[in-house]
């Protein structure tokens, strides 16, 4: 595979100076307490308040969000204005499905590397519990005909054309999670990977259980300090990711029925990422901005890669995105101290691990000379992942990048990778580095 140029290596260095996120709040069958813009605002407000610079000093705000609500169409601008960035700070929203938050970081990093910006607030938010119910086309046509009818006769005729079936809502979230090209929902793509790499239900469940256990441990040890509590107007506050099932067990997970391929599938609600609301932000700065405002550096974004593949195998996206980064930088698996591979499905992460070390896969699909060394699972998603924490699609990319950097900071290690699979058949990855003494 021909090495692509990496502007993040040749351009100005890109520093990450701070970040925060909201707790990730599991959807409970009805719209959650806060909209995407509220979550992004509250996490961002706490972050900006503690900066030595003013919100107006930002050069731009970039936010990933797949389905902003009808009142937050360019959600980045809505949130930037609420954050007090003022009229003159441009803000834009990016959408690359499950990696929208990572896309926002990449856009911000490229702009800083290219010298277009000095200080950028980038991240993402999603309130999946607020995904809309939509009228079907038949209902919309009927309403439009009724609206257009002028005479009483025409109106009566239009009314008479109504059929109860028109009322059947289209569930926005299901549409969003279904690939329109291959007509598979995301869970089915995970089933395909499970079949291809021969991943058993038991392995999936064990992986899922470990995700919960790791999150539980991380919460107890205080490894999630990037979380800022959020408050709702009813006097409730949310200080921690509430998708955690600390009492989960293999027995309990085994009892769950498959939800995507019934009745013989293996992917269950228990070994998939949860439907969740959340937001995450990072502050990215140029060297000049770091000096000007005296900002503390957490680390650098040194490389990024986007890749695409067969939509029905979308879960392998991380493999395709991470491989060029390692190649380009002359690294092997052992050089990466911390891996964050977003857990859309337990099966999908396990498939990535298999493909990564599979000679055939690496040769045929990645045009490599051979496989990578296996990824050490003790260095992968060490504080839990989407299965336990949830996967608000706009926010996850920013969450894992921030957490990978915080982990490096905590452990004193050097390199991390943050990567996600992307519905529609893509993958994205960032290489994150910390100066070590």
């Amino acid at each position: 595979m021909a090495a692509q140029p990496n502007p993040l290596a040749t351009g100005r260095p890109v520093f990450v100076v701070d970040g925060s996120r909201s707790p990730f709040l599991r959807a409970r069958g009805r719209p959650g307490p806060l909209h995407a813009s509220d979550l992004a605002f509250q996490a961002g407000r706490a972050l900006l308040y503690r900066q030595p610079f003013a919100p107006r000093d930002l050069d731009q705000v970039i936010m990933g969000c797949v389905m902003p609500g009808p009142q937050e169409v360019n959600i980045a601008r809505v949130v930037a204005l609420r954050l007090g960035c003022g009229d003159r700070v441009p803000a834009w929203t990016v959408q690359r499905n499950c990696a929208s938050g990572l896309q926002a970081l990449d856009c911000a990093a490229q702009d800083i590397a290219a010298g277009r910006c000095e200080l950028v607030l980038a991240g993402g938010a999603e309130a999946m519990s607020h995904a809309p119910l939509l009228f079907g086309t038949a209902m919309v046509n009927w309403l439009s005909a009724l609206n257009g009818a002028r005479t009483t006769g025409a109106k009566l005729k239009a009314v008479a054309a109504f059929r109860p079936a028109f009322l059947k809502p289209v569930i926005g979230l299901l549409c969003g999670l279904t690939d329109p090209i291959v007509s598979l929902n995301m869970g089915q793509t995970a089933e395909i990977l499970a079949h291809r790499f021969n991943i058993s239900r038991e392995r999936m469940d064990a992986y899922a259980l470990r995700s919960h256990q790791r999150l539980d441990q991380a919460q107890q040890e205080g490894h999630l300090e990037e979380i800022e509590p959020v408050y709702d107007e009813r006097g409730k506050y949310y200080a921690a990711d509430d998708g955690l099932r600390a009492d989960s067990s293999l027995e309990k997970l085994a009892k769950l029925k498959p939800v995507f391929d019934r009745p013989f599938g293996k992917v269950t609600a228990g070994n998939s990422a949860q439907i969740t609301d959340g937001a995450a932000w990072l502050v990215l700065a140029s060297e000049d901005a770091v000096k000007k405002h005296g900002l503390p550096v957490i680390g650098r974004i040194t490389d990024s890669q986007w890749a695409a593949l067969d939509p029905s195998q979308m879960g392998l996206g991380p493999v395709h995105a991470m491989a060029p980064i390692l190649q380009r930088n002359g690294l092997n698996s052992g050089d990466i101290d911390n891996w964050e591979i977003n857990e859309a499905f337990a099966a999908q992460v396990l498939a990535c691990l298999s493909a990564w070390q599979d000679e055939d896969y690496c040769r045929q699909e990645l045009q490599l000379d051979g496989a990578f060394d296996p990824i050490d699972e003790q260095r992968l998603n060490i504080d839990g992942g989407g299965v336990a924490i949830g996967h608000p699609v706009g926010a996850s990319g920013a969450r894992i990048a921030l957490h990978a950097l915080r982990t490096l900071q905590r452990t004193g290690e050097r390199r991390a990778i943050a990567s996600l699979c992307i519905g529609g058949g893509q993958g994205g990855a960032l290489l994150l580095e910390r100066e070590t003494a």
């Binding site: 308040y49 609420r82 509590p229 709702d232 006097g235």
Partner: protein, 688 residues
């Protein structure tokens, strides 16, 4: 092109379409008011306009803050007798009659404040166009000064929009924005700034038929309907104000009931009624209270401090509500406490306040966005004002200040909301002890206008001025007081409350005690007030004050607190509470309370007021009256405690106090300060 008044309080420009634009721009004032001289100048201008016969007249204000804020209240205090008042009012009516009778269309182009006489002028125009924004307020608030509209306002508004809307506005004195005014019908168009001139011009170039009330609205003024409606109005008013204390709304209802439908007769009756009221004690005292408020407001002019960010520590009821109020008034606020759990309830209360006050979703969101829960306390470093509102423990406060000071900005104000601890006991931990000031709010923060600014000789006067300025910025009324026990308000209230407890203990029914206090004009009876404040808090304050002021604490209060009867919040105190309302059992049939009930409560309060006067707790005697009216709700129509002493006569009151001392003991011993007020005698009583 234009004619100019000598003083240029107003001037007219005639444009190319032959429309006369009459501008009000009172010199040496930021606000347009209708003083007698402005009215005369306006009259002259009208006469000249009639000569020039323009196509139409548009009245506008050059003041950014509004159209015309009303009559010149200070002139009211110079009226010597009924006849003088009557002729002044009739003169105003004549001027507006001239305006109403112009042979060409007239438009009042309204932005900002359009109150009292200002709105009466607008009502005399054929059309009214108002700016559509929250800052535009129209109303007839005269009842708040103990009078009612006198320049034809009631005569013109009732037929224009019907009696229900009109009387609601005039009896409550409330103000409405342009859009609400248009819905009611007394404004023809409510439009954004960018269309104001086009709208006014359109009214003149192609004059529509003037606004008429709906049939139902018109019916409200029908002679057969008026007696019925008048009864309804009286009943509604009686729930808010007693006729013996506040005669104005009742007088207005009478004028309307008897004369509506006959413009001349109603104008005549309106003028006579206002002339009666304005020289009476209620109006004079309410005007005094209004001017006292202006005096306290003006204290904020001594500093150009521009606070934008407030950090409040302690998210309890007081701290949380202070934070919410500051956010409502446009401040950026960080609210700190030990954990998110402690802050969350304050966020809920704040949201409820914003919803009630701001109504529309976006302003509510803006206020919520300004209020940041801050359990890590990062706001300290940025804040212009840091307010400590934690529990009343000197040691806890001191150690908090020690942590705060190094993190605070050099120029930031450090304030304590303590109600009982002297500054001297708190400040020595600071490297700059002179920076500590008290900003003492009352509960409920959103209702109590008064804020005590507590300082002593050590406090830096500049810090005091900044604290006062901040208080004004959040639209509260600052009252500088010395850092002496109880400051002013609690110190004066406490003997009054404790005497009520004594009376209750002696067997006087609580409901009777409260009834007598209400009859005096207090907003809430002392027993219910004690229950509302919380008996544990009352006891705490009483014990604290008792140490310094030699006021015995009634055993009854201790007993109730020991039994867990803490007042409204525990469901039972002196009264029982059902759904938050006190159950007040009626006294037994034929029960005759002793004569001294009211005197005992009021005289103990007055005795303490006099002591505060003697000790210079406030800067000026007037501040005592202002502080008591706005801080305790002391009967506003009595003009404040010192004015009350002046009205009844110090010697008379002193005698009654002496008698009580003989029978009830030293808690009634007259304070030496009575000497200072004994110059006040019956002769100085205002006429009425």
């Amino acid at each position: 092109m234009d004619t100019q008044n000598d003083k240029r309080d107003l001037y007219t420009v005639i444009d190319d379409d032959n429309i006369a634009w009459l501008h009000f721009d009172k010199q040496d004032s930021s606000t347009n008011v209708l003083s007698a001289s402005v009215l005369e100048a306006f009259y002259e201008e009208l006469l000249e306009l009639v000569e020039r016969a323009p196509r139409g007249l548009v009245i506008v204000s050059d003041k950014p803050n509004g159209f015309i804020a009303g009559a010149d209240v200070r002139e009211f205090t110079r009226l010597e007798n009924h006849d003088q008042a009557l002729s002044a009012i009739q003169r105003g009516q004549a001027v507006f009659d001239r305006l109403a009778a112009l042979p060409f269309p007239s438009v009042a182009l309204i932005h900002g404040f359009c109150l009292g006489g200002g709105l009466e002028m607008a009502l005399a125009c054929r059309y009214r166009v108002a700016r559509d924004d929250p800052g535009t307020r129209l109303g007839l608030p005269e009842v708040r000064l103990g009078i009612h509209p006198g320049f034809g306002g009631s005569v013109r508004l009732t037929p224009l929009v019907g009696a229900l809307h009109a009387m609601d506005l005039m009896l409550s004195g409330r103000t409405v924005d342009g859009r609400a005014a248009r819905r009611m019908g007394f404004v023809d168009h409510a439009v954004p700034e960018r269309h104001l001139h086009a709208a006014a011009r359109a009214m003149i170039m192609d004059p529509p038929f003037p606004h008429r009330p709906s049939k139902l609205q018109a019916l409200s003024n029908h002679p057969w309907v008026r007696p019925l409606l008048a009864r309804v109005f009286r009943h509604q008013v009686s729930k808010k104000a007693r006729e013996d204390h506040y005669p104005a709304p009742y007088a207005l209802i009478d004028v309307w009931q008897e004369h509506a439908g006959d413009e001349r007769a109603m104008l005549h009756a309106e003028a006579a009624s206002v002339a009666d009221l304005i020289v009476g004690p209620t109006a004079q005292n309410l005007i005094r209270v209004f001017l006292l408020q202006e005096t306290l407001k003006a204290l904020g002019q001594k500093s150009d401090f521009k606070p934008a960010h407030v950090h409040v520590i302690g998210a309890g009821i007081m701290g949380g509500d202070i934070a919410a109020w500051c956010a409502l008034r446009g401040m950026r606020v960080t609210l700190a406490d030990q954990s998110p759990e402690r802050i969350a309830p304050a966020v809920k209360r704040a949201h409820r306040l914003f919803k009630r006050r701001l109504k529309r979703p976006r302003p509510i969101q803006e206020a919520m966005d300004r209020l940041m829960p801050d359990h890590k306390g990062i706001g300290v470093e940025h804040a212009d004002v840091v307010i400590e509102a934690i529990f009343e423990d000197a040691e806890a406060k001191r150690s908090l200040y020690q942590q705060l000071e190094p993190r605070m900005r050099e120029d930031a104000v450090l304030a304590t909301n303590t109600s009982s601890i002297p500054l001297a006991e708190l400040r020595d931990v600071l490297s700059k002890p002179a920076r500590l000031v008290g900003i003492h709010f009352f509960n409920p923060v959103a209702k109590m206008q008064l804020v005590e600014i507590v300082r002593d000789d050590t406090t830096d006067p500049e810090v005091v001025n900044r604290a006062i300025r901040f208080t004004r910025k959040i639209d509260r009324l600052p009252l500088p007081v010395t850092s002496t026990p109880g400051f002013l308000v609690n110190r004066v209230l406490m003997p009054y409350l404790l005497e009520a407890v004594e009376l209750e203990n002696e067997g006087i029914p609580a409901a009777e005690i409260d009834r007598q206090a209400l009859a005096f004009g207090m907003p809430m009876g002392p027993v219910e007030l004690a229950d509302t404040v919380g008996l544990d808090i009352c006891l705490h304050v009483a014990e604290n004050l008792g140490k310094h002021l030699d006021t015995p604490v009634p055993q009854r209060l201790r007993d109730l607190v020991r039994q867990g009867r803490l007042g409204r919040k525990s469901g039972e105190g002196f009264y029982q509470y059902k759904k938050g309302k006190a159950v007040k059992p009626a006294p037994p049939k034929g029960y005759q309370p002793p004569d001294s009930v009211s005197d005992r409560m009021i005289l103990r309060m007055l005795n303490e007021v006099v002591a505060c006067l003697r000790e210079h707790v406030v800067e000026e005697p007037d501040h005592l009256d202002g502080g008591m009216v706005y801080g305790t709700g002391f009967a506003p129509f009595r003009g404040g405690p010192l004015r009350y002493i002046e009205t009844v006569g110090a010697d008379t009151l002193l005698q009654r106090l002496g008698k009580l001392e003989q029978t009830l003991g030293p808690r009634f011993t007259p304070d030496p300060g009575w000497e200072l007020v004994s110059g006040f005698t019956d002769e100085e009583k205002t006429g009425g």
